[in-house]
Amino acid sequence: MSNVDLSVSIGSLTLANPFIAASGCFGYGVEYAGIVDLATLGAVAVKGLFLDEREGHPPERIVETPSGMLNAIGLQGIGVRRFVAEKLPPLREGGAVVIVNICGSTIREYAEVARILDDAEGVAAIELNISCPNIKKGGMLFGSSLRGTHDVVAAVRRVTRRPLIPKLTPNVADVASFAAAARDAGADAVSLVNTFLAMAIDVETRRPRLSNVVGGLSGPAIRPIAVRMVHECRQAVSLPLIGMGGIMTAEDALEFLIAGATAVQVGTANFVDPFIWEKLTAGLTGYLRRHGLTGVSEIVGSLDLSPPRNARNPPPTPCA
């Protein structure tokens, strides 16, 4: 059997494989250390961190929807300092490549969190969560304006040399323009998509199912939209992309890679199957072998957009 190379590079960051645990779906990573060898993941994006501790929203925090789920956790978390003190050491011990997902209510808070992480050891990259739909201040507010995106990214860029990965919200009309704004402000890559702002109603009580009224939709339901958004970004900007949204299998991940993502994140699927990681690498390896390819880079962005056979000389000429 020929050897295949699953490693991918995102700027200066090299990952052993393209599979990253998505932020908020893998705790602080340490929760899973007893189940998976964290070093076998491409990277671990930990739960979004503010400067300080946060309690998050009261229950109900999630609700299942067709092929998806809504969440409004409200970014309960221990704050960046406790993270650095309590979680980073065991993560480094476990050999995890750690991407820290950071949040802020103000640009100043984003920069402060990033500065603390810049000083910490064992932070492979910073993912800027400018797209969380579940909090009142900050988050998606920055990520849904080009100006806000540019300003947050530029401010954090000034305080850190770590690879900087703004995470884009899909709740915009033209996601590629946000990728461009992030690039112009100094981002090394962008990750997309965060969740879709959504809502479910209990018709018996006529109340929202989530205590926060709205929440973020994730899971396979959103995959086709997320793939389209990665495709659009790939067509428009040359920045490395980290794709996500509803990846459940290696085939799903391949859709993102072929559309132009250099790596992918897997969130909701990890709830359904915490042993998914070995299946993903095995599936990708098998695919590459079957197609006679030697590395992931050969498929990234390899989407064939030539007209289909049956449209080349379309017998009935479409009018538009």
């Binding site: 705790g27 929760e31 189940i35 998050g56 299942e64 899971g219 909701t268 709830f271 359904v272 915490p274």
Partner: protein, 275 residues
């Protein structure tokens, strides 16, 4: 360390129009499950429904030689997954991840143990009763249900040496009304010097009432909560319960890791979700 097993259904026993017991060939999990622990289950394939669902380990199954062959779930049909579990045919596959969560802390022989179950809240007590018997602890089950027809597995509990105190909503068996009625009587009658541990599982208002009774009588109680759980492993922070530990401010803790069994006194009942 939990494992994930693609378990075959060994049998599906209907108990009523809503309740059944599904036996699953998951000895790897059953052999290590402690009373009060749970499994995350997904029957069927496809992405709808998407997430697994939490279930208490009901019975640990053994063959004639005493070898562990699997575990069973006591299932109550209330929605999409429990409906599927209700209809499963033997041979069907169910993905089963476990054992998970913090178990009950079993009483020791100097104490007596009272288990208080409401409806499907019976589930964790079969395992607990077996563990108590093995430790030589005298145990009683206070068990409430809608009607006599929904009081299940009484003989199994009797076989484990468990005293039974029953109550039904319609009065068709035992006390007419909530199970907290006979519990309150018994607490009042019990010698204050006798050492007692309480365990409760059932609808939230019932567990809250049991906790209130226990505190009023100066007794410790462990409750097994049933919040909505997205992952069962601490990854999603969906399953939080507000807990006030002595001397601390209330905090949201994940019931899949810090529970599902909690010291009843520490639970901030007003802050629980609807689940």
């Amino acid at each position: 360390m939990p494992v994930d097993v693609d378990a075959a259904v060994l049998s599906n026993t209907r108990l009523s129009s809503d309740y059944n017991v599904v036996a699953l060939a998951a000895p790897e999990i059953a052999g290590r499950a402690k009373p009060g622990q749970f499994v995350m289950v997904k029957p069927g394939s496809g992405d709808d429904p998407l997430l697994r669902r939490p279930f208490s380990v009901f019975e640990v199954l053994e063959d004639d030689t005493g070898r562990v062959t699997g575990l069973s779930l006591l299932n109550k049909r209330i929605g999409v997954t429990t409906r599927t579990l209700f209809g499963l045919a033997p041979g069907a596959a169910v993905r089963c991840l476990g054992p998970l969560g913090r178990p009950f802390s079993p009483a020791d022989p100097s104490e007596r143990a009272w288990m208080v179950a409401g409806g499907v809240g019976l589930a964790p007590f079969h395992g607990l009763a077996a563990a108590l018997r093995n430790r030589g602890v005298e145990s009683t089950l206070f068990y409430g249900a809608r009607s006599a027809r929904e009081l299940f597995h009484l003989d199994a509990f009797r076989g484990l040496g468990v005293g039974l105190v029953l109550a039904t909503d319609d009065g068709s068996r035992g006390d007419h009304g909530l199970v907290t009625l006979p519990l309150e009587r018994a607490l009042g009658r019990l010698d204050p010097a006798a050492r007692l541990r309480l365990y409760a599982c059932g609808p939230t208002p019932m567990m809250r009432a049991v906790t209130d009774l226990a505190l009023a009588h100066g007794r410790r109680v462990e409750v097994s909560l049933e919040p909505v759980m997205g992952c069962g492993l601490g990854g999603c922070y969906s399953c939080v319960v507000p807990v006030r530990r002595p001397g601390e401010d209330p905090r949201f803790v994940r019931s899949c890791l810090d529970g599902p069994v909690f010291d009843g006194r520490t639970v901030v009942w007003d802050g629980l979700g609807a689940g």
